[in-house]
Symmetry: C2
Subunit: 356 residues, 2 copies
């Protein structure tokens, strides 16, 4: 523990994971544990993102978990921000491609394990990590447990669309799923969307056509289950291009398709901006439209949409994109705070219990 931890004046928050459903205050004190070493950008990006998030949210408290040698970065921070930070030293930083089983067996002193532990023992209300998705899923399940009936957690991400962002799940490691799992994703996503965005989503199933007979068996069967579900506003099949037109608010798919959809869009946007840069570089026209291009880029930029809730575990866990910038990391913290304040995990549990 560093002096920052010992000197910390952080008071215990009144928010607890077991508080009753429906008690929501977006300005209540909230404590987020941060794996500050797991991202590709290392502690520098994470510390900088935490500082941004603390500046914007006066009731945010953060427990930073990183190797002891990293905490000197806090020396330069304004006293007001530093007073809202606790530190916990952990010397092992798991590599991005760590084998999840190895993360579980060997690495009790990893920044990932220790930050999840803070959430598990009630010292934090939420947790953020930019480390390996697989290791995060395995350790979160091990240390927090899963909600009733949930076999494996799902990862939900936000992507830009025409009028408002669309949420999509699964983006985790659930690569082959049956109809029952797709229904479960829809149930988890439905509650999470409502909690985060404040209204019920129109839910679509990702498919390769919109006609009823299209696609593989498990997707057609999932459509029947979703149609029969009273809790879910099921809209129908949605094709990948329609996701960007706000045909639905929440897209349900297996983890493989979700990953392909997200990364394909990222790749296409990257290619477009490369082309635009090449054709405008050094020109007067390029100079004139620079600000507008930046505005479009910012709106479509993955960093603006960073922060993927891991749904189905007993705790508020946010996966930050490994390659995000400080601004993106701050965005993941903000999402963690929203979820914890609005008590998403208790909402999910109540909803799942009601559906059985």
């Amino acid at each position: 523990m560093s002096r920052w931890h010992r000197n910390s004046t952080t008071k215990r928050t009144t928010l607890r994971p077991d508080r009753p459903v429906g008690v929501v205050s977006d300005s209540a004190t909230v404590r987020v544990a941060v794996d500050a070493a797991g991202s590709d950008g290392g502690p520098e990006v994470a510390f900088s993102g935490v500082r941004q998030a603390l500046s914007r949210d006066p009731e945010l408290r953060v427990s930073l978990v990183a190797p002891e040698a990293e905490f000197h970065r806090l020396d330069q921070w304004p006293r007001e921000l530093g007073s809202r930070v606790r530190t916990r030293a952990a010397e092992v930083v798991l590599p991005a491609d760590v084998n999840p089983a190895r993360a579980l067996r060997g690495a009790r002193d990893s920044t990932l394990w220790q930050s999840l532990q803070l959430l598990a023992d009630g010292s934090a209300d939420a947790m953020v990590s930019g480390g390996s998705t697989g290791a995060l899923m395995v350790l979160a399940r091990h240390l927090l447990g899963t909600l009733p009936g949930v076999e494996r957690p799902a990862l939900m991400a936000r992507i830009p669309s025409l009028h408002r962002p669309v949420w999509m799940l699964d983006l985790g490691a659930n690569v082959s799923v049956d109809a029952r799992r797709l229904l479960e994703f829809a149930q988890l996503g439905n509650v999470a969307y409502r909690t985060i965005e404040g209204h019920a989503p129109g839910v679509g199933l990702l498919n390769i056509g919109t006609e009823p007979g299209k696609g593989p068996d498990q997707i057609r069967e999932a459509a029947r289950l979703l149609e029969a579900s009273e809790a879910i506003n099921y809209v129908g099949f949605v094709e990948a291009d329609q996701v960007f037109e706000n045909r639905v608010d929440l897209v349900v798919c297996d983890g493989f398709s979700g990953n392909v959809l997200l990364k394909s869009a990222e790749g296409a946007v990257w290619l477009m901006f490369s082309e635009l840069r090449n054709r405008l570089r050094g020109s007067l026209a390029g100079w004139i439209v620079r600000a507008r291009l930046r505005a479009v880029h910012d709106r479509l930029d993955p960093a603006a949409h960073n922060g993927a809730p891991l749904l189905g575990v007993r705790g508020t866990v946010i996966k930050s994109h490994g390659g995000t910038c400080a601004r993106g990391f701050a965005r993941a913290l903000e999402l963690a705070a929203i979820e914890a304040r609005r008590n998403l995990v208790a909402e999910l549990e109540a909803q799942l219990l009601a559906s059985y």
Copy 2:
């Protein structure tokens, strides 16, 4: 039959589907049968696309298949172009969402059936349609048969990437495939790529990570089969975003993932241009960069990449995107001519026979 057919002076080409492998001439006479009514844009787009293609390629001959009432469009054409067109009347136009089984049972007089029939009986060297992919696959298989060992045909499409286009298959209806099928896609695509582009492709398997242990069983098993194949230059797993960076030349995947990748990219590019238009509309800056934006759009535009070879059937069949414009339709005809002239089907057959 219209007078255009009766008056036609089109001579029989010397190119035959059964000519020996290796006889290639990119300027030889080639006859393409065109389903001129199946696209979303109807005969207007198809006729206009055919006219563009005929203007550019003096050795191209076209058999237009459409309802009799449509052939009046040819009256306005220059005599030189019209003299290279035969017509065949077919009164049934299958809707885009036709059930493939119904297309097979009932619709012998459809434009799709009749244009494939011209290819099947040797009156054409290649065939182009913008109609239903499912109906095209079923009818092509029924009327042309498949190549040795091929169970179901695959659809291969070209997508824009950083330095040069990337080809990808399957984009057809093969939604759940095993490792053996993925290997078959790679074999078909490998020969098709080499024939069209003139050099051997680096081949990648679409996956959600590049490490060896990533992804579902059938993809990891397919990787082992591809590594063992001497005919294929297997590069490794490729993630959806890397497709746009030219990490490989040919991407192999199941039809579901391929569809998601392609449509997600289309959707993201559409969203970007919507945003750019909104922010530049009516402004001086917008006026100044208009030509450059159009150049970027044209390079990424699906129309520039229209024309998806249906691989594995005994005949050169090109699927044109249902919603393409005349320019895109012409592009599909050009691709049909290239494949027929370079004798792709015989090349594929020889390669498949050698691999068993």
